[in-house]
């Protein structure tokens, strides 16, 4: 047993060791993704770094600094901040309902002196941290106890409810699913998921009847985009036309007609992936998807290599959150799920999402840097 390397735990590292333990390969992957974003935004501006691509670089650089900075913060310190962060994020979510700005139907943000902050983005990270902290100290038997699951379920439902009230159905669903992923990884029994999943169809029907008109329109146009080709279905149809006309090899860099002639709406934000698909074809789109997949799986590997439950759950939650972004965005531009205003992280134009995502990757990297630290169970509060 003493030969087991996993048992050779350290309590702390010096700064140089920490920097060396950062997975620079993973950082390289993120830089590659940001470069894809730069290229696509350069094209989206009609072949110019202004106004999107140049700012994208600055934001990514800022994000990178934040990420590395956070990566060096001891994961145990972050764990102590988990619940306070959750409470702050919840407060921001409540505040945004009162004083937030509304744009494009539902996305609410707070204006923090020029920086637009979407509390729901922050909330997802805080929720992952809080749930990981909750399950970190839980034994297998305890997780089996339904009563033990009540507080974390409430911790999920509170923000989901607030986000639904914004109302932002897409983000609410992603938040719920990210929470569920952490529950699942923590070892909550299979049948409990089934128990929750079973009434979902009925709940969905009930929810559909109580949705806002624009939300219902999204679902309707998803089911039949051609029903309203100039209205709600326009975005989906034009996005599909752009992707489809790209073909196998694409129309070439800066040659995308759908994007450059403004048929493609919001090409620099939600539909950036479509730009890539149109100009670089299936080959380019699959390459970007491969890169995204590597980043997701890399995050999951970091979770698997971590030697403490908190780190595992946090890494998994953040990787899963990233995966959900990717899935929802790409499925949306292909018309596979209703349009939901979810950007493609590190590629789409937009400041708040970039900073939040890089903050998440910072925490992920902190897990990696501190994967071997001595981090037992949290003191039992009972």
């Amino acid at each position: 047993m003493t030969n087991d390397r996993r048992l050779l735990r350290q309590t702390s590292f010096d700064l140089t060791t920490k920097v060396l333990r950062i997975s620079w390969l993973y950082v390289l992957l993120l830089c590659a993704l940001a470069a894809v974003g730069y290229t696509a935004l350069y094209s989206a501006a009609g072949g110019s770094p202004e106004p999107f691509a140049a700012r994208h670089v600055i934001r990514f650089a800022t994000g990178l600094v934040i990420m590395v900075g956070v990566a060096l913060v001891d994961i145990r310190f972050i764990a102590r901040l988990a619940w306070p962060a959750y409470v702050v994020a919840l407060g921001l979510l409540a505040a945004v309902l009162e004083i937030g700005h509304v744009g494009k139907g539902a996305q609410r943000w707070l204006d923090l002196g020029g920086l637009q902050l979407q509390p729901s983005e922050l909330m997802k990270i805080a929720l992952v941290l809080a749930l990981a902290a909750w399950f970190h100290r839980a034994s297998w038997e305890r997780i089996g106890n339904p009563l033990f699951l009540i507080p974390p379920v409430i911790a999920v439902l509170l923000p989901v409810g607030l986000i639904l009230k914004e109302p932002n159905l897409g983000t609410a669903l992603i938040t719920a699913l990210v929470g569920a992923a952490v529950f699942f990884a923590a070892g909550v029994r299979w049948w409990k998921f089934l128990l929750v999943a079973l009434p979902v169809p009925f709940a969905a029907k009930f929810a559909y009847e109580h949705l806002h008109d624009y939300q219902r329109a999204r679902i309707d146009t998803f089911l039949n985009p051609e029903s309203d080709p100039l209205g709600a279905g326009y975005n989906i149809i034009q996005s599909q036309i752009a992707l489809g006309s790209g073909g196998m090899w694409g129309k070439g860099f800066l040659q995308g007609t759908q994007g450059h002639l403004d048929f493609l709406p919001e090409k620099q934000t939600d539909f950036i992936f479509t730009m890539i698909g149109e100009e670089f074809g299936l080959v380019g789109a699959l390459a970007v998807m491969g890169l995204l997949c590597l980043i997701v799986l890399g995050g999951m590997l970091i979770a698997l290599r971590c030697r403490h439950q908190f780190g595992r759950l946090v890494a998994l939650g953040i990787a899963f959150n990233f995966f959900m972004y990717v899935f929802v965005n790409i499925a949306m531009v292909m018309g596979a799920i209703p349009v939901g205003g979810v950007p493609l992280p590190l590629v789409s134009h937009g400041g708040s999402a970039m900073i939040t995502v890089m903050l998440g990757f910072g925490i992920l990297m902190s897990v990696h840097v501190h994967r071997d630290v001595e981090f037992g169970e949290m003191p039992d509060r009972r």
């Binding site: 034994s139 297998w140 992923a181 699942f184 990884a185 923590a186 070892g187 034009q238 599909q240 036309i241 752009a242 992707l243 489809g244 006309s245 790209g246 073909g247 196998m248 007609t257 759908q258 450059h260 002639l261 403004d262 048929f263 698909g277 074809g281 299936l282 789109a285 699959l286 998807m289 995204l292 997949c293 997701v296 799986l297 999951m300 979770a303 698997l304 030697r307 439950q309 595992r312 759950l313 998994l316 899963f320 995966f323 990717v326 899935f327 790409i330 499925a331 292909m334 596979a336």
Partner: protein
Amino acid sequence: MRRETRHAGVFTRRALLLMGGQVAVLGALAAKLYQVQVVEGARYTTMANENRISARMIAPPRGRILDRFGVPLAANRVNWRALLIAEQTNDVQATLDNFARIVPLADHERARLDREVHRHRRFIPVMVREFLTWDDMAAIEVNAPDLPGILVDVGTSRIYPFGEQFAHIIGYVAPPSEADVAEDPLLALPGIRIGRAGIESTQDQVLRGRAGAVQLEVNAVGRVIRELDRQEGLQGDEVGLAIDSGLQQAVLNRLAEESASAVVLDCRNGEVLAMVSNPSFDPSLFNSGVSQAQWVEWTKDRRTPLINKATAGLYAPGSTFKMAVALAGLESHAITPTERFSCPGHLDIGDTRFHCWRVGGHGSLDLRGGLKNSCDVYFYEVARRTGIDRIAAMANRLGMGTQLAIDLPEARNGLIPTREWRMGHGHAWNIGDTIVSGIGQGYIQVTPLQLATYAARLASGRALEPHLTRRIGNSLQPGARPETWPSLGLSERSLHIMREGMWAVVNEPGGTAPLARLPNGVQMAGKTGSAQVRRVSRELREHGHFNSAKLPWEYRPHALFVAFAPYDAPRYALAVVVEHGNAGAAAAAPVARDLMMSTLSRDPAGRNEPPGGPVAGGSILGATASSGTASSGALAGGTVADGPTAGGAVAGGAVGGAVSGRSVFGGPAAGGPAPGRTLTAQDAVPARPVP
């Protein structure tokens, strides 16, 4: 420690499960992407191209219309236009202010511009001013830096170099109506014009040409990004008319201020060499829009400038009709050329007395004498013997009261009454109706073009149709060759008697039209006619105070003349109608003489022959005779049918008011028998080598 291992085990299993799920989901998305981009790629490519490529047609230049010698009668002129693109200037008003300093803009133009600039998207050009002069253009170019957003553009517009001289023949063009566009979407092109009258209308398809196409790349809001492909349109074919523009002008000059019409035909093939309806209008005004004042002036003018009186003016032919009556009598053997009738100055049928124009009568006359003196009583008798239906059939055969194949829209058919037609109107045919028909009065109405055709058919013996179009593109139309036209099937002997009578009218002492004699030695054959527009009351006539020259203008009779020349080798036929000219011999015959002189001296049909071809009347002098010698001595053709009262039982009341352009009866006359289709040796025209 054991708990930690257990945690790790459960976590690893479930994390791997999630990873598998994630890979599977992304794989599914990749498969969907493959379907969209590769499987359905072609369909989406088409849709993308439909999105971005906007195919637009370019209006082709309209074909020109030329006279027989290639003089352009309708052409296109470059139309320089100044356009404003609002988005290319920061201050639309400042640009327009600067523009107005170069080319003054009226207040209503500024108001229209403001409206249009606000109504359209900012990148759509708005027309500031059309038909810029070269100087304006130069000034705009020089001041271009002060005129941001102003763009100079070139289009074409239709011009008529001769203005109103050819208005009734050429017609005019106007922007297509919505109904036209529904028929042919091509007409929706900006700048395209459609023929609305005249040759512009009948040859519209030929003149229109084929539209070009330009493929433009447009963005989502329709702004043109660039031009991908351009195919220039094909200009419409040139239409060459038989008209001689020089002769047309000579005819116009001769008619001067009269409300009159004249048609000159090549009597071998029916080509219209000149067709004048005086006064006329300026057709180019229709291109840009006719002002209210101008419209009122045209429609209030009793000389009806807008109506082509040559094809749509209806007149009683009067004594010019007598050859048709005589031919009907001869061909049906109701009369013989030598049979003599006595004219005591009147003919009594029942209790109605029909007067001859010469008080006291002509005495005993044969057919030649009847024609020469235009004796009414002689033709009352011929008509009585022949019967209206034979007369009508002959008139139709000679081109009157029937539809001619003239290539002009809205040519009227006139009317030759028959028993059947009268029955159709619920009346029995009276013998009096036949009697007045014998002198071309009563219900009979013909157009000047029909009269000219009548003269040409008498001269040639061929069933030729008058036509304007001689050439389309480079191909001569078949009608230009005389042998295209079949014989009328009338006996050469009968026709010869008609021609001889007409020769005597002009050239023999005692003929009714001495004023029509040509001063150059060429012999013209002709016939006078006067058509009453108002009944003459018995009182006026019996008191001897009747003098139609003293009537108000609009009540005076129309003066008519039909003629052909040279007599021995007919080449040109003409008809002249001077509205309210009073008497054919005095008002129309001198005009006919001068027109024939002009025609012979210009000799348009002869000049068009290839070198070496024979030219009729080669010795014709260039000078036209002065018309100042007209004497008022010969008062011919003033035929009067003296009826009891309006609606009387007998024919007297049948003199219909025939004013140009307004017909009492809209219906076509009963059709005569088809002209004979066989070519016989009786061909009136001496054989002439035809290239």
